[in-house]
Structures are given as C-alpha cells and as structure tokens.
Amino acid sequence: MGLRRAAHVAWRRVGDETVLIHLRNKKIFVLNPSGGFLWHGLDGARGTEEFLESLTLDHPIPEGASGRIDSFLENLREADLVDAEGAPDEETPSLPEYPLPAFVPPELVWQEELRNFGLSCIFLSGDELCNSGPSL
C-alpha cells in the first residue's frame, strides 16, 4: 500500500511547479516538476517501484533514483502532507506524462509559514516606517 495525498492539503500546479497548502499547520510548499509528477500519482496504490515503472524517458534511469524517490516521500510524510492509512482509491487515475526527458530527483524546493497580517504597517508597530501616520 502506498501513500496518498492528505485530505487537509489543497494543491494546484502553477507554471512548472506544484504548490501545496497544508490547511491545518499553515504552511505552503512547492514541489519541482518531478515532485509534482509524483504528487499527482499519490493515490494510495503506487509506491516507488510503480513510479519508476511509469517513467517514459529519453535517458536511462540513473542509479539511486529509487532512493531519491523514497527520500522525497519521506519528506512529504514528515511534513504531514500524505497519509499512509486507508485503502487505495477505487479507481487509480492514470499518471500524466513525466514532464522531463531525463530523471530529475523529486524535491520539495520551497516552503513558507503563512501568517495573517502580511507584514503590514497597519498591524505592526515599533518600526519608524510604520509610525508615520497621523497622531492625535
């Protein structure tokens, strides 16, 4: 049984990257194209071997690819972005075509904690820039 995308994660492809938002712990994550490909296939049925078998590449799969995928999946698990529990989806959706001609290690390339005040002067004090408004 493989990992599946957690229900508390919303996601969308933006440009070449895949952006995930963890709705509970208030973090946003960005996956590289290779990571986005794997993310798309995390339906509870696929594991590392299934992913490797699904790749159609112009170049041979390099040694160590399996370990890089394992490591990526572990990073997703540590970030609470995937669930290991539960049965696979009834219908396993087909994977999109691998977006690159050669294997590139999947990576979580960026993350940021989300805040609700947007670093705005209207909500901050103690900064000269923020105290320039009218005073009584």
Binding site: V14, K26, N116
Partner: protein, 277 residues
C-alpha cells in the same frame, strides 16, 4: 433625572465605512473612539444602511500599552483566535472580540484606541472578503478600468511608488483582489493614504529599491512565491484558507508579474507604463 442620565450614558453612536465592497458599521458609546475611525477611514465613509457586518466597541479601563505612539497608532499584540459557536473569539493581552458570523455582528472590548480594532480587522476582513484576497500592496490606477498592484513588505517602497503616481494611487498599503467576469480586480482598502476605487489589474509589481529603474518579468511560480508573504491569510479557518489559496494561484497565473527595482524619481511611472502595457 437619574433615568435620563442613565439613558445618556448608553447612547450609542455609529459610523459606517466601506472596506472594498464590504460595508461595515461601527457602534459605540465611546464617541472619541468613533472619531479615531472617522480620522483614519474618512474617505471610505458611507451613508448608514445596507451594512453587511456590525462591530460594537465597548471600552475597558485597561491601561494603554506603554510603547503606544498614539491612540491611532498600530500596536501588534500576540493574538489568539479560537472557534466558538457561529464564529470566532479573538483575544489579545488587552482586548477581546467575539465574532458572530451568523448574526453578522462582533463585540470588541479593549482600551479606547484603534489598535484593538486593527487586530480584529486583520482577522475579520479576510473572512468577510469571500471572493478574493487581501494583499499588502499599493494600488495605482491607470485610468477608470486598469491598474497595477505594487507589493512588498514595509520599506519596499509602496508608499513611495504611490506618492510618485501623482494622484493615480488608490491605496498605499492594503488592497483587496477579486475575480469578476474572468478579470482580476484590485479594490482599494483604507489606510493612511488611500481613497475608494477599483481597477482591473494589468500587472503585479514586486517592489525593491535600486539606483535606476529595472523591470524583470516573473514566471507564475516565482510570482506566487513572492505573493505568499504579502497575503493576509485567514490562518484559523481551513475553508477560508483553501479559498484564499485558490485565488492566490489564480492571481499568480493570470496577471503578469514583475520584479521592479526603482529609484525614487518622477519618471518611474513613465517607465512602468511604457514597459507594462
């Protein structure tokens, strides 16, 4: 006579303002507090009626924070927000607010100053603005239909770029973004220098200072990373977070974004208008 005096004590005054298309009514027996709102939000004042949400303010006798510059100044306190029946309770060291989304009312208690309201508005506005995002940005209109959102943290140049727009600026600090008939619209929100208005966004600029003007087009994924830290995220509300995320990705993908380094000279908008058509 006593009864009359008591009635006068609880006489409530009101002021109404439009935060974008969200019409808020503020009520309080503390007329001085309402006068603070009138000073800050005066250009966004509206006639009473058809407000979609009411905030009642009840002053407490708690002392003002010692480092507060004035009763109008910002003062950030650690905020605890928890779900309660029909809404949320927003608590800081010196204030508390009960937000009831069903009755569309909030009761705010705190010292007679604006900062308790600031701390509530940063929670309330993203909740009430259901059709888009609140972004830390200046909004500059080109004409009646088109405009530019200029983003960046404090010190990045939002106020400067707004001032150099010579009257075209709608807001220098906060703007709301919404999708409307497949167009992305920026709507001015009140702060020190702002006036009501809206514009179809033709570009999002991410500001930085430089020795000369330089504009560099960003990929959608780069634009998204820059925007993420400028959004007022409704972090206590999962459905609202999912909604904001959808609007953010839409904004990053549909509106051209640029890194703008600029020198604070009068020709910067000529440069922007020429480069970002």
């Amino acid at each position: 006579m006593l009864e009359i005096a008591e009635e006068r004590e609880v006489e409530v005054s009101q002021s109404s303002f439009a935060f974008g298309e969200t019409r808020l009514r503020f009520e309080s027996a503390d007329r001085t507090w309402l006068s603070y709102l009138d000073r800050r939000y005066q250009r966004f004042s509206i006639s009473p009626g058809n407000e979609s949400f009411v905030v009642s303010f009840e002053p407490t006798s708690l002392p003002l924070p010692p480092n507060l510059v004035s009763r109008l100044a910002a003062h950030l306190e650690a905020v605890h927000c928890e779900p309660v029946e029909n809404g949320y309770r927003v608590t800081t060291e010196t204030s508390q607010c009960e937000i009831d989304l069903r009755s569309r009312r909030a009761i705010l208690r705190g010292p007679s100053a604006l900062y308790p309201l600031d701390n509530v508005l940063r929670h309330l506005l993203p909740l009430l603005w259901e059709e888009g995002l609140i972004v830390h940005s200046a909004l500059v209109a080109d004409d009646a239909e088109s405009g530019v959102l200029a983003c960046g943290p404090s010190g990045a140049g939002k106020s400067t770029i707004a001032r150099l727009a010579r009257g075209r600026a709608l807001s220098d600090e906060l703007a709301a973004v919404k999708l409307e008939e497949r167009q992305t619209i920026g709507v001015a929100l009140p702060f020190w220098e702002s006036r009501p208005g809206r514009a179809r966004l033709r570009a999002v600029l991410h500001l930085g200072h430089g020795a000369s003007h330089r504009l560099e087009r960003l990929l959608p994924e780069e634009a998204l990373r820059r925007l993420v830290t400028q959004v007022l995220w409704p972090v206590w509300d999962e459905p609202a977070m999912a909604r904001s995320f959808a609007y953010l990705t839409e904004l990053a993908e549909t509106v051209p974004a640029f890194d703008l380094s600029f020198a604070p000279t009068g020709d910067v908008w000529d440069f922007i208008d020429k480069e970002v058509s």
